[in-house]
């Protein structure tokens, strides 16, 4: 069948016979309907149901009175602003490192993907045990080198949240580095050659060639990463479980905490409160990608 599909070279052939329109549209509808059914059953209906659960104003009053909610909102903001910017800057720098033509760097880049390629549960639990104050490998090393006890990593809310951010960075840094490597590879070599001829320094090459080409991709990646990080449940839940004393929750884990306490309305209200911040990011991304 495929072998008969050699094309006429002319290219002037106009093929829009009216009799084709109907079966094409019919088949088109048949093929797209499964997704539409899934979308209605598992996206539209749950979202509508969520709004309906969160319809009572008193849920919001109760939510805003809950100190754990305020703390979670701050934590989420720290997670996004500090965590993502650190991650993206490192990814930008490392993408420059990984495009160096060296065999050992090629091999390193293959290993570097591992955190992203393996499931998060085992590795996060491994990190959790490394941070165990009594038996963990980190405090054992600190004790061996300095002779003093290391910090109680997961029992101090500030350190615990920082560690959750570190776990998040560990897990998702490879992906964003990969994206920025692809972005750097797409920059034509002659731009750099021309800059070299003009006697540009490394920093000038970055400033006038690399950054202008990567800027859009970098911004898009940052925003996409913000949206995904809002949904990052594992980094916090599996490392700290929201503790100590519910001080390290983020919005993603707070919703589940309320669900566990049988306060579904609060759970949905917490998400509703976040929507005014999330939706602009979502629409920005949709405009970018739906071209």
């Amino acid at each position: 069948m495929t072998s008969t599909l050699t094309l006429p070279e002319s290219g002037t052939m106009q093929v829009v016979p009216a009799r084709w329109v109907t079966p094409w549209q019919t088949w088109g509808s048949i093929l797209i309907v499964p997704y539409i059914i899934i979308f209605i059953l598992f996206v539209v209906y749950p979202i509508g149901y969520g709004f309906w659960i969160a319809r009572h104003p008193h849920s919001y009053v109760e939510l805003l009175d809950d100190p754990i909610f305020a703390r979670s909102a701050v934590n989420t903001l720290v997670f996004l602003v500090v965590g993502i910017n650190i991650k993206m800057v490192i990814a930008l720098l490392l993408s420059g490192f990984f495009i160096q033509a060296r065999t050992w760097i090629k091999w390193l880049s293959v290993l570097f993907i591992l955190p992203w390629a393996v499931p998060s549960i085992p590795t996060i639990l491994s990190l959790r045990f490394m941070l165990n104050p009594e038996w963990g490998v980190i405090n054992t090393l600190i004790f061996r080198i300095t002779g003093e006890d290391g910090p109680n990593w997961l029992n101090d809310p500030t350190i615990a949240l920082s560690m959750a951010i570190a776990v998040h960075i560990w897990k998702s840094l490879p992906f964003w580095t990969l994206i920025l490597i692809a972005g750097r590879m797409a920059i034509p070599d002659d731009l750099y050659e021309a800059a070299s001829v003009d006697g540009a320094t490394k920093w000038q090459k970055f400033k006038y060639v690399t950054w202008p080409s990567l800027r859009t991709l970098y911004l898009t990646s940052t925003i996409l990463s913000m949206i995904w990080t809002l949904g990052d449940f594992n980094s916090v839940y599996l490392l700290t479980g929201g503790g100590p004393a519910d001080l390290t929750h983020v919005l993603a884990t707070l919703g589940i905490r309320y669900l566990r306490l049988d306060q579904v309305d609060m759970s949905m209200a917490a998400i509703m409160v976040a929507l005014p911040f999330v939706l602009p990011l979502v629409f920005f991304m949709m405009k970018r990608l739906s071209k």
Binding site: M13, W27, I32, F42, L114, I121, L125, G183, S267, M285
Partner: protein
């Protein structure tokens, strides 16, 4: 023979100064996991870089299900596999059809569907988890593995449709015209032209959906609860319930569970990386 110049040595040293910390940072948690898995229980906590007596005893315990937390190990591994494969297959079915309809058949309203799908892709997964959980309850699907499969298809499909549509848009329109000239029906075009040409993208998407479902934790523990119905990650999470968890067994089970996705990733790396990054770079 050219002798390395001083400049070359310094630049190599500078690169190593970045490369070594990156390697340690990347591998430490994974090596730690591996170290626990091959250490006898007593020496796992010693802080040594290599155990004095490496052993496969932990693996034997896991495979023979000889611990309270591991009574359903094989069942849970099977559940993970079943759900991942079902999610991969269903996502491919749904997304390929939708992408073909939107991109090649130019079905009316296709653009709207594409945008709605993209919108779904950008909802943080944890935000949809609670309403999804309640909805599955209303549908009577809670504790059925279909609930998890359908939820994962819902999450995997939007990106899949988008990537497939992007690849599909790059196929020359003359292909369709030629097929029509030969009297091909839309379904013949789909099977004999579209599917073969899209094979690399389909491999990438199938793998993506499969790994997404295999790795999922949040939805799995919300939607499934019976010990014999849950997936392995939920079983691993249950280890945390006790204070005196057998960490060496947890790490061993975790390592076993982490191996297939790592292997799959490395086998399909070529497809995955190009498939997953092409859309991003285009902007």
């Amino acid at each position: 023979m050219k002798r390395p110049t001083l400049g070359a040595v310094t630049s190599e040293a500078k690169l190593l100064l970045i490369g070594i910390p990156v390697a340690i940072w990347t591998l430490l948690p994974i090596y730690h996991l591996f170290l626990f898995a091959i250490s006898p229980k007593e020496s796992a906590f010693s802080g040594k870089l290599w155990p004095d007596h490496p052993t496969l005893h932990n693996f034997a315990v896991v495979f023979k299900q000889e611990h309270y937390y591991l009574h359903h190990f094989w069942q849970q591994l099977w559940n993970s596999l079943l759900i991942a494969v079902a999610t991969g297959a269903l996502t491919l079915l749904v997304a390929t059809g939708a992408a073909f309809a939107i991109s090649r058949l130019k079905v009316k309203g296709g653009r709207v569907v594409m945008n709605l799908a993209l919108f779904t892709y950008f909802i943080p997964a944890a935000f949809l988890a609670v309403p999804m959980y309640r909805t599955m309850g209303l549908y009577g699907l809670l504790n059925s593995q279909w609930a998890l499969i359908l939820a994962m298809v819902t999450i995997a499909a939007p990106y899949s449709i988008w990537v497939l549509k992007q690849s599909s848009d790059q196929l020359p329109v003359e292909l369709d015209e030629a097929a029509i000239m030969d009297g091909a029906s839309p379904m013949q075009l789909f099977w004999f032209v579209y599917i073969p040409l899209m094979a690399p993208a389909l491999v990438a998407i199938g793998t993506y959906a499969l790994l997404l479902a295999w790795n999922e934790y949040l939805y799995a523990f919300l939607l499934l609860s019976k010990d014999t119905a849950v997936t392995l990650p939920v079983g691993l999470g249950n280890f945390l319930a006790a204070d005196d968890s057998p960490w060496e067994l947890l790490m061993t089970t975790g390592l076993i569970y982490a191996l297939p996705p790592a292997a799959i990733y490395y086998v399909f790396r070529r497809y995955m990386v190009s498939g997953l990054t092409q859309g991003a770079v285009k902007n």
